[in-house]
Symmetry: C2
Subunit: 361 residues, 2 copies
């Protein structure tokens, strides 16, 4: 396909696949798309291992790495108030999930320092794109990527943020609508994308949020995007590491079954509505979510217990279990190989452009 | 343009313009689109006068009428609790607007009975479409329209409602995303439209929500819609009866300045965020909005005072003033004749299809 971004990144079909699973990244890249590995859950050593594996799979085809650089956080290592720990323990107990309250180390990497380490590792591999969610890319990240000749992409949910990201050195903007999974703003993709495209011209824009089919990809490109950034659609693929208990909920969910909640990270993020989000967001005894990264630290620690119990088939745990996913979850009703998802999108995309041409003949 | 709906309704360019203003309806129809008059604010006699005027303007070109048929309401004539009347009076007082608390007669027509009267009037004129928002079309409405050979359109925000509307006899579905102005659901246009198109096939679908430009129209049609239904974009046209104080707020607003609130009708409706929505939705002393039609009766009565004061240039009143509008309000920054809006959409639509064809060549 001929968009500037295809030429710049050497990608055949401008479908960017965000996934925490290396198998999805490799499969999409090999199918002609552009896989982007979400690196937030990895240590520098683990990331090195994952990228070496991907390098071996994709035979030089381009792929990217995404790190979470939060704009504003509470600081590197906030403490969890005992009230919040007690609420979490009590909540899990009500649903039959024992919780030891070990907070783990996750919060550490959601800082500019943690992100920089991951970027250093990424740049040692053959990555073709570094993406940063949440905040403007730190100057050091831009400098490092520029030196390595690797473009920097930034996710935004408003026109104002898009302008700020470009000023901070982003080479590519991902305009993400409110219907997207994960951290997301309030403006829908249909409204956001054309505004961002016009505001940052000639910087190329990818559209995110509400895109999991060829028709939706064609719509995004009609809005002026040069490609699309998809996350949710990979969560129900064969390759995805999504726990079976969560995958089942996603396959059964309608588009009404997601909620934008602070309960998993401290910032508004769209996810499956579950007993967890309900308890934090509207439970009478809820202390309210903490900020980022404290709430993320607390939630990830608790959710590890929840998911283990849900995988053992415990019904209470299954009610609590959830994960970040967009409103397109209502379209996902079948487990498919990631390669097939790419091929179906390519086919439907081509059919859609063909149909639109016929309408206007 | 060649879509089934163009042929069935005899329309050149499938841009449906919902407006309460007869001048907009006539201008859009004469420019090659399809104007739809929102009839909820009219008595049967007034509607008759408006439609006679439109008939005289459009020379036989097709246009439609929209009535508000609520699915569930509190009953025909609920009383307003004194607490709610006192809150309203106090709120307006705080912003310097005297309020006499006369409730008027508006609530009367938001019933199936009121809607039927309006439809009887409409069918005496040369209307080419009857649309019903909120509930499934009442059987009598479908029977009357069928007898007159006029198709019935129904607005929906979920797949489930779309199926129900088709079962109740709707000939055309308007799938409206959460970014739309007025009564709207939670699912974004990008996600909702393809799901509705697939669920009600072969019933034709128009897309609504987030559409105010040719790019957005092309995107909607990529999603599978046979045309688009736009409301917000007409509110800042030259012809629109939007009060100047509200028009100014719309021209200045960004896409972040709307809110989905029950404060104007009792059901969630997207509108400009203002001191009115803030006070009802999150004011400490708010009694919470009533149901429909009580809240609508109360709000419309109060807003009449607010708008009169705002038009006189009173600053407090201008803070309260608002109106239903979608997230596209962020794109509206210039007053234009409705005809020019249609022509610009036609032009950008054609350019977009052309651009998409080139990309895939």
């Amino acid at each position: 396909m001929r968009t500037a971004i295809c030429e710049r990144l050497g990608v055949e079909f401008p479908l960017f696949a965000f996934s925490h699973c290396r198998d999805v990244v490799a499969a999409v890249t090999n199918a002609g798309g552009f896989g982007v590995l979400g690196a937030v859950a990895y240590s520098a050593e683990q990331l090195d291992t994952e990228l070496s594996w991907i390098d071996a799979q994709v035979g030089g085809r381009p792929y990217g790495v995404d790190v979470l650089v939060p704009g504003k956080t509470e600081g590197p290592r906030s403490t969890i108030p005992s009230e919040h720990l007690a609420f979490t323990t009590g909540l899990l107990q009500r649903y039959g999930v024992p919780y030891a309250g070990t907070l783990g180390e996750l919060g550490e990497r959601v800082t500019a320092r943690g992100a920089t380490e991951l970027i250093e590792v990424a740049l040692k591999h053959r990555v073709g794109l570094i993406a940063s969610a949440l905040g403007p890319p730190p100057p050091q990240m831009v400098t490092m990527a520029r030196k390595a000749g690797v473009p920097v992409a930034a996710l935004v949910g408003t026109v104002e943020h898009a302008r700020r990201q470009v000023a901070a050195g982003a080479d590519l903007i991902v305009a993400q609508g409110t219907e997207a999974g994960g951290h997301t703003g309030e403006i829908a993709t249909m409204v956001l994308v054309p505004q961002v495209v016009d505001a940052v011209h000639p910087t190329p824009v990818l559209a995110a949020g509400g895109i999991a089919s060829g028709r939706q990809m064609a719509a995004a490109m009609a809005l002026g995007a040069q490609g699309v950034w998809c996350g949710s659609v990979w969560l129900t693929t064969e390759e995805a590491e999504t726990p079976q208990s969560v995958k089942r909920k996603m396959l059964a969910a309608s588009s009404l079954d997601t909620v934008r909640s602070r309960s998993r990270t401290g910032k508004p993020a769209r996810q499956l509505a579950s007993a967890w989000t309900a308890a934090w967001d509207s439970g009478e005894d809820s202390p309210g979510p903490l900020g980022m990264p404290s709430q993320m630290l607390l939630a990830e620690s608790a959710m590890a217990y929840v998911v283990r119990a849900a995988e053992r088939g415990e019904a209470g745990a299954a009610e609590l279990a959830n994960y970040f996913v967009g409103q397109v979850v209502g379209q996902l009703d079948q487990v498919k190989p990631a390669r097939r998802v790419v091929h179906e999108m390519m086919e439907e995309f081509a059919e859609t452009i063909e149909r639109l041409s016929r309408i206007t003949e």
